[in-house]
Subunit: 336 residues, 2 copies
């Protein structure tokens, strides 16, 4: 059973374990600073498909299959697949798993989806609802660009605060059976609306939500940032990440020694992505590549993975609605 | 703890209870056969808002508030809100609860969303993750029509198999504390793709998924249709409902004595909705109006509520992808 500690945080007495994980990315992501940490790289972002939307589905399908295979299981042995993406009606995820024959739970948390899937998945495993399940998320630069912004060929200008939607997917297989990577805590966040209306500055819209969720996690658990090897958000990128650091500094808390953001980690300064990466797949692939690799290797023992989402649609932006941010988080620990 | 019985069904040993429920609808829905069963009716479908999208949000917000108030609680006492809708990026639901200050879990299951929320919500309550939470879903004819089909003023023709998106929302407050309406079982369904590509015949796309989930539920629990007072799908409407009856008849099982569909119940033959109602709000409002009223009054003791969703987007349809169906279900029992 999960125990609620403090106001928001859930502690799992028999922590659900990570049995397998995998990341799949496009060429741009594979040639950045995290080169070599991904399981599968596609050279042309098409993944052998005839549309960008099908390419995204294929990428997510590959991530799920690879994560499950690395755990020595088959996809059809999963009891649930929890997945989501940025495409309208989340078709990237439904098309990815439609042939799997596995019960499917569609999630929508914008770029927080991977963390939402891990948190809900951990609750389901902990509560006896599943022995094993897969959680996944994806995004694709080309499918997102034409859905949210302009046709690719238009070449629209991007302001310096804009983030670059990653062509990436990550998947985790969680299970009841013990392994040394465990999800010990989860926290589902509330929406925070600070009135940001600029869809080209989503880092600013999400930073207050990350601050709220991480503050609640520290308060509920009694931990301070230094108790963790890394605190990772995804994806506030450079602008939002800087704001998060500032918000904590106002409380006299310096998170910088342990803090990084997936959107800032994925691309190099020479890759012309402006503020950094974004998209459900960005944090999913960084977690399921570099971060879990480092945990697997024993270089990280205790990690906060905090997914941040900007809850908006092109219609809500056109109608002048503010962008609410949300942040869900899990604590992942290595137990030897 | 939940017990997995058979291959897919979860049985809750301490069943999560329904403490409150509410339905909010537009004028067309309120003047149909279920007139008088709804909590709030808005006469002009605007709900005092300046856009159809905000009207939908307001409707869902009212449903959540009313359900929680009927249980003698306040919205801020909820530990989670689980919600979803049909709008791109599920903004109807995020805008509905952005000011609530309650941790928010975004779901996407198309018209199966209310059942998905009840199933996941029951798992969270049962697993100790929440003492009390709200699950909600909504749809609005006008916001759906311009997003999925044509501008309202265009007056596009609809074929006889088309369904009418209900302007409706429903919400349930679930809790650990005992009450006489209980969710005893839940089953999350897998996607079923039978190759249907006609977005004007979503009943046909969803019926095989309903058949699969209900068959699994019967097999896992050992029940036959006659063990239930009612088996309710939502929303297959007239075409899909007929197909579901036929699929069971091929197995020698006649579900007709106990079977109804929310899409067929909501509108009268004289309301020009063709095959019947649809939209996340249709089954949500019929459940949280007529059906739970009848359970509350003791007229129904044991109900299967099976939400059916058509997983597609306008882009996936334009690209020639088939529409996968999905069906999630819960068993609700009255214990005196």
């Amino acid at each position: 059973m999960a125990q609620r500690i403090g106001q928001y945080t859930l502690r799992f007495d028999c922590p659900p374990c990570i049995h397998g994980y995998a990341s799949v990315v496009g060429k741009k992501e594979a040639t950045g600073p995290l080169s070599g940490t991904f399981d599968i790289v596609n050279e042309d972002s098409h993944f052998g498909q005839k549309s960008w939307e099908l390419a995204e589905s294929k990428m997510q399908q590959l991530a799920i299959e690879t994560a499950v295979h690395k755990a020595g299981k088959k996809v059809e042995e999963m009891q649930f697949i929890l997945a989501g993406d940025l495409l309208n009606q989340c078709v990237g995820s439904s098309l990815a798993s439609v042939q799997s024959g596995v019960p499917y739970l569609g999630l929508y948390g914008a770029c927080s989806t991977m963390a939402e899937g891990l948190a809900v998945g951990a609750c389901l495993v902990d509560g006896g609802c599943a022995e094993r399940l897969a959680a996944a998320a994806s995004s694709h630069f080309c499918s997102a660009e034409r859905q949210y912004r302009f046709p690719l060929a238009y070449g629209g200008q991007r302001p310096p605060t804009a983030q670059w939607t990653a062509t990436a997917s990550g998947a985790v297989m969680l299970g009841k059976e013990q392994s040394h990577l465990q999800i010990t805590h989860a926290i589902l966040g509330q929406m925070v609306d600070m009135g940001v209306k600029d869809a080209n500055n989503m880092g600013a819209a999400m930073a207050p939500a990350a601050y709220q969720t991480l503050s609640a996690l520290f308060q509920d658990t009694g931990h301070v940032p230094g108790d963790f090897d890394r605190i990772i958000t995804g994806d506030l990128a450079d602008v939002g990440g800087g704001l998060l650091v500032d918000l904590f500094l106002k409380d006299g808390v310096d998170i910088t020694p342990v803090y990084s953001d997936c959107g800032s980690m994925l691309y190099g300064d020479d890759q012309d992505v402006h503020a950094g990466g974004s998209g459900c797949g960005c944090s999913a692939a960084v977690l399921c590549g570099k971060l879990l690799n480092d945990m697997q290797a024993g270089q990280l023992k205790r990690l906060v993975f905090a997914g941040t989402g900007a809850l908006m649609s092109p219609t809500s932006i056109q109608q002048g609605q503010a962008i609410a941010g949300i942040c869900h988080a899990v604590i992942i620990e290595r137990k030897d």
